[in-house]
Symmetry: C2
Subunit: 476 residues, 2 copies
């Protein structure tokens, strides 16, 4: 037997950033490479992404969208067509200047997002109201030239889907913007068990070129917020810049109204920082690459391995089931699959076989459960459902606990200090106050929640007339 | 009703290249953009790719491989580590030189293939024979700076999967090289209904950095060959260049032995040029986005649309079923779905409803078939199976018809002229003869088939001692 090292990680409370790095590497989600700011997504991390992607892709198709694929490169002149858009993205794009040994006449940017490519295509294929709506989506890699990077949360290159739609009316585009934000909320809450706050971004924080931006914001264990998906109403700004016109039902030429919306590998970061603990990852059953890991006990004894493999075979139809029959000791294996956040460990040893039973151990609570062989599918199914729900409930409770109300700046600072998390506070709507709050507290406006509350009468910053309640937080 | 244009395309025999361009655009597979040499894959084209990808991904996973994701960018110094590899790829890579406004200290190449990234990662994660084999695959976009491009066949950017594996022994790597070539042959023959010739590439045509390359070659309608998938035995060349070592079962330090293998969106080009005809695309049922298209006849008459939608609902469980209930006339619809290569058209009008039947029309033969309502699933299932088989048989027959034998150069030229296609001819193994054949005939060595025949005693070119039979052809 090889010497076995039990993996250990930094405690969350001691150093949250180091805890995060330990988890993503020791749970074998990612590895680093010599490409600055990029990550290698390892098999376990990619299997998790595949489950998330497939769930989201299913919802995108159910809501009538079709997948397409656009080019990776965008000619500089095309990117410049919509002025706000290029102003927002220019500082963070990578430029291709040479093909082979030839210098290019025009630089190509590696797509940071693909609005302009979709616009050019829509101009080609949209002529009449009969061509609308166009409901397209693409799964792709994009590049943004970030200075400071962290696996999943902020990387030079990341994987995502980007939806791009064109509609007859502003209202239709608005409906779509809301519909896709709801899809994101469903993915986060029902699949990743991550509760979100839905709302609108302020003017300062909206997407470059959009009329307005909707967002789902989640809250990490350390009290920082994470923007987890955005849906933009683009209005007709891009349509005007690109000349995307259609003949309406009265035969009049009109601009289309557009939306775009995206969700990225970043949500894996949310999943880790919402559910993880000092023993490592905790993955919600619905997206877990392995839902049940079988660990044979005293596997050298006669019949144990046959029994364990029989169970694996039997359970694989209903659950994503793994087995570790390596010659490492059970303690090492327990530790390993806890680190990897497998929702349920199934132990089976000689005494269990004798009693016609197995032991089920929950990752989220550590609770043990005996299941006789004829009830194992039923108990496992119920357990996975319960774990999924418990993870959500726990996260929801944390979000509520870490959400404070502030009526003035003194309270704002005190609460952010004593209970790091989200601050609900009224805002006058002025950019100056938003900037000042960031400068003085480090917190940014996360969103203007759809569910408004009147937590006080005046702007938390200037004391002027309050326009809306904003959720503020330090953010990733 | 809008004015309806029936789409028409150039005849194959008149101008095959123009026929191809007409098909890919008029069947709505692709569109062009302002990005030179790149294509937009439209919903119908992408749905076809998704079906191909899912079938291949399933086989890749069944053979024990795991998906990962590697960075898009490769630092120049990393690409240069294996000398043959960089020599082969340097002329066709795109270079990123700037990030935002900053000039990079080291240029980054946009991956043309990812061997060097996998090698760097393998060096990190492989230490002992217990870590082997590593069987990884990735689905990604790659870029090769091509001068002349055509949708699917040769584009600046394309989508593919690339497998990269590491093994204890040369034999294990060899087994893997063969296994994955067989997977490609299965995908092409059993799913795309495209018959292939399996064999080994000559030294001249092998992958840059490989010990040897296996290939599956298919033959298009115009007599040109298309390399449709390759599997490379990399030997230990990369392992030596990158220092990928492991402790073997005797505790001795060894280099790993590697393979890589790839299949791309190019196979869509093969499918088009093998099965298409003068009415457009013909898609094999197993990968068709729509297997059955319902066209209601006299749909303004009472009950027709209800009947048609009822059928759609009923058939959707078993078949990928579409319905076109637009106000275009049936003739336009027949033409449209023939252009799109939908395997079966289902017509249902008032007289059919009266008789409790529908009409099924095959895309491949044009044959019509009556099915009563209680046998429609059964007949449709059998029909789709039959179409799949017929397409393969037809293509196989064409491949055989367009394959000639040549014993000397005169015969070689005459046969390539009179019956454009594959030429089986003996070869001495010398590069000079291979070059001369290309120079004089335009045909290149496609492969040294695994199934060897002795078609003559001497090299077709120099008359020297024959080493093996080679299949030659002009190629895409």
């Amino acid at each position: 037997m090889e010497k076995e090292f039990v993996k250990s990680i930094t405690a969350m409370d001691k150093d949250f950033a180091q805890w995060y790095t330990d988890v993503v590497t020791k749970a074998d989600l990612v590895d680093y490479s010599s490409v600055r700011g990029s990550m290698i997504i390892r098999p376990y991390g990619y299997a998790l992404w595949e489950n998330i992607r497939d769930a989201l892709d299913g919802m995108i198709k159910e809501t009538g969208h079709e997948n397409v694929y656009m080019p990776l490169f965008i000619p500089e002149s095309l990117l410049e067509k919509e002025k706000d858009h290029i102003a927002g993205f220019a500082p963070e794009v990578a430029w291709v200047t040479h093909g082979g040994s030839e210098e290019l006449a025009e630089r190509l940017c590696v797509r940071p997002t693909s609005e302009v490519l979709f616009c050019e295509h829509y101009k080609n294929i949209i002529h009449s109201y009969r061509d609308l709506p166009k409901l397209y989506n693409q799964w792709a890699n994009v590049v943004r030239w970030e200075k400071t990077t962290r696996p999943f949360l902020r990387t030079l290159e990341f994987l995502w889907q980007e939806g791009h739609t064109a509609h007859e009316t502003d209202e239709d585009a608005h409906e779509e913007t809301k519909r896709m934000l709801d899809v994101y909320a469903t993915l986060l809450e029902d699949y990743l068990a991550v509760p979100v706050v839905k709302g609108q971004k302020t003017e300062k924080e909206k997407f470059a070129g959009a009329k307005f931006t909707y967002t789902v914001e989640s809250l990490m264990h350390d009290g920082k917020a994470l923007q987890s998906g955005t849906s933009h109403h683009l209005g007709d700004g891009f349509a005007k810049a690109f000349g995307i016109n259609y003949l309406d039902r009265e035969g009049k030429l009109q601009h289309v109204h557009q939306t775009s919306w995206g969700m990225t590998t970043r949500v894996i970061g949310a999943l880790i920082m919402v559910h993880g603990d000092d023993r490592g990852l905790v993955i919600p059953p619905k997206v877990a690459p392995t839902q049940v890991m079988i660990v044979p006990i005293a596997q050298h004894k006669e019949g144990v391995l046959d029994f364990a493999y029989g169970l694996k075979e039997r359970l694989s139809g209903a659950f994503r089931t793994g087995i570790d029959a390596s010659d490492k000791n059970p303690g090492w294996k327990f530790n390993e699959y806890e680190m990897k956040g497998v929702p349920v460990r199934l132990e089976a040893g000689p005494r269990d076989i004798e009693k016609n039973q197995v032991v089920l151990v929950r990752r989220d609570t550590g609770e043990k459960l005996i299941a006789t062989l004829d009830e194992v599918e039923e108990k496992l199914g119920a357990l996975l459902t319960d774990i999924q729900q418990n993870l959500f409930d726990r996260a929801k409770e944390l979000l509520e606990k870490k959400t404070s109300v502030a009526e003035n700046m003194e309270q704002f600072k005190e609460r952010l200090e004593s209970n790091p998390g989200m601050i609900k506070a009224m805002w006058c709507g002025k950019r100056e106050c938003e900037d000042k709050i960031k400068e003085e507290t480090g917190a940014t406006s996360r969103c203007i929640p759809f569910e408004q509350e009147k937590v006080s009468d005046t702007c938390v910053c200037c004391g002027g007339k309050a326009e809306s309640m904003v959720v503020w937080a330090k953010a990733y």
